[in-house]
Amino acid sequence: MNWLPPNGALHGIALDHLMRWNLAVLFWLFVASQILILLAMFRRRSAKKSAASGQQRITRLFILAELLPLLAITALYLWMVFTSHKLWAARRESMSNPEAIQVEVTGVQFQWYFRYPGNDGVYGATRPGLINAPAGNPLGVDPNDPRSADDIVSAVLMLPVDRPVDLRLRSIDVIHGLFIPGMRLKQDAIPGMTGHLAFTPTTPGDYPILCSQVCGLGHNRMQARLRVVSQADYDRWLAARERALAPEASAPESQR
């Protein structure tokens, strides 16, 4: 009974482990409570007379059936929070890794674009007024900015295996949600803000990229693909894309 899709990310191993533990504990709590309700429904309908007086009985019941289980459940909740906080803190409460591969992810109704900063390692400037998808500039990259000359815009997110990645999230129209189930990743792309998302893919393969925040009539079509390949394949792909830019003949290829 493995409902989660295959995991391909470094942090996904611990996350899946924790998810399964949580689900198992909660599932059995659910089953136990439902059995209790059914037992109560079908037990003998007569009330037992107890020797203890009313007040003593109630106090005992309160301690045994209320306070003690409540303490146990509170301890369980605290265990859940603190174990998973380690995961959250490790990935989210830290600065981005300067060694990481940088890719800018931009959500547009209804398409994901992935921009690589190129050999200079710096993204060229973008201007909303320059956005023109039919003319091949869906992100509004400024051609007059020298840093943009080697920027690669792709409809596929290509990444080498076992290298840390830092995604920079943007949206130019409405809120989109970057969701890569196989990488256990989700983060909204909010217009006017730049988000960051760090992870390390560990298993080569193809992974669906979805939009998880309703963004318009094409919301369910807003899908792309993450391709995790070997470092050599990645370098070859990058070099080919850079060569395609070099003649300056065509604008950055963007459509799928």
Binding site: P5, E93, L217
Partner: protein, 578 residues
Amino acid sequence: MTTVATQRAPGRTLLSRIATSDHRDLACLYFLLALAAVVIGTLLSLAIRIHRVWPTYAFPGYGIPKPEDYLALVTMHGTLMVFFVLTVVPQAAFPNLVLPAQIGAERMAFPRCNAAAFWITLASLLTLLAAFFVPQGAPISGWTSYPPFSALPAAGPGQGNGMDLWLLSILLFCLASLLASFNFLVTIFARRAPGMTFTRLPLTVWSWLASSGLTVIAFSALLAAAAMLLADRHLGTSFFLPAGEVVNGIRQRDGSGSPMLWLHLFWFFGHPEVYISILPGMGLASSILANFTRRPVLAYRFMVACTLFIGVFGLGVWGHHIFVSGMNPYAGTAFGLTTIAIAVPSSAEVLAWLAMLFRGPIRLKTPMLFTLGFISFFIAGGLTGPLLAQPALDAYLHNTFFVVAHFHLVMAMAGIFSIFAGLYYWFPLLTGRRMNETLGQLHFWISVVAAYGTFFPMHFAGLAGEPRHYAQLSGTVESFSSLIPVERGITFAALTLAGAQLLFLFNIFWSMRRGLPAGENPWAATTLEWSPIQPHFNIIRDPYLYGTDIATGTDFLPQWQSLPEAGTSAQPSASNSE
């Protein structure tokens, strides 16, 4: 409901029953309004389910839904159910029906305010439904309506006139809720009968105290947010609009705001809203459990403390809806902790209910069955709360069907089962008759099985990564094809669930005329709404005096009844329910 009013006051015209400020007449009007909303909301949800598994099915008189139609269905289904069913019934219809009686008051503190609240709610519902009939139809941005999607008409069909009507409807609903809740609060504080101290209030009244307090604060935030969004749309402000927006290739005006503000304001309302709709059900569950097990509520003061704790803390957990929105990750950690904290009193109430089940002689009449159903769903949906409260795990499950399963179980199913419990329980107050027990039992068993069949499998779809608001499972996600049989099963269960409600509707209209005469105090209850003489009381005892060691020879002692020895032994041994 007409027969009801006729019985109570023969010779009243239809007009006098409608243009009324009598709280029980208003309760009937609210019930009718919620009935209309729930019928439409359910039909929309069936259309959603059918379209998901048979995407090429052409609806008679309409045709095959377009992608934007699907999103409009989802948006309107959510809005109708959350506001006009799950808020209106527990937080407007039920308190109008019994709140004054339960505290020994003849009428509400502000009857006209109270009546105005109903008419504004009706205007709000009609405004919302009108969105179906304007050019481009109903809005498609979901019931949370995040900007800029909801701020810019260019962002999609339905985001023009439809969105304006949606916002107007929300504004009106906020206004009505504020009026109604101020009235309830003042009524509880100022109009209790002599002797009705706070520790003698039924737990339903404590719940309405907490939920009305939450309503005043939460709906004020939503009122402001909706007004600000309307201003962004029509007055050139930019509370929620950032600079550099390009929609559909067209440059929008540069704003200086942020959509994040809406996310915070909306969920500052949105999470308390969950408690507004469920707290009255929790109070009702305690009351019904006490009655149908013939024992006092376990730890009454402790339950009151839990209710108030939930009421206050409910205001501090909204951030768990936006863990992955780009909120500061430290804030995510903090909101995870507050959310776990609020799970503790909720769990405490559940434990008390479970303990109460094993005390007295349990009577499985329909109100009790639906209360057990409420507890079952409250647990089933509640248990995934602490899981979703963990930012690290929520970052995978957010906006998937796992969350859809969570809130449909804990808010929708628990909420609707508690509404059924209340309707079966209080039906004699309105009609002098009981609802048919056999039909009621059948209604319960089919509903409970079909509801689990509908919502439990959604957990698995969510774990597989299936997002919300997808009209169809197509595209790059091959693994989703394995979910199609699950989806089909969900649709069949949903159709069964909706079909079972016909039993309930039939039962209501049949029992109104043909039901067994209920007589006085048909459930042998202790709280004041069942008193044959209204009102004028001098309350001398706690609300839940059930048990075998009560001096009168019966197993209960109503709050309105005076003892033979003129109040000398007014507090029998079981009275101290702690």
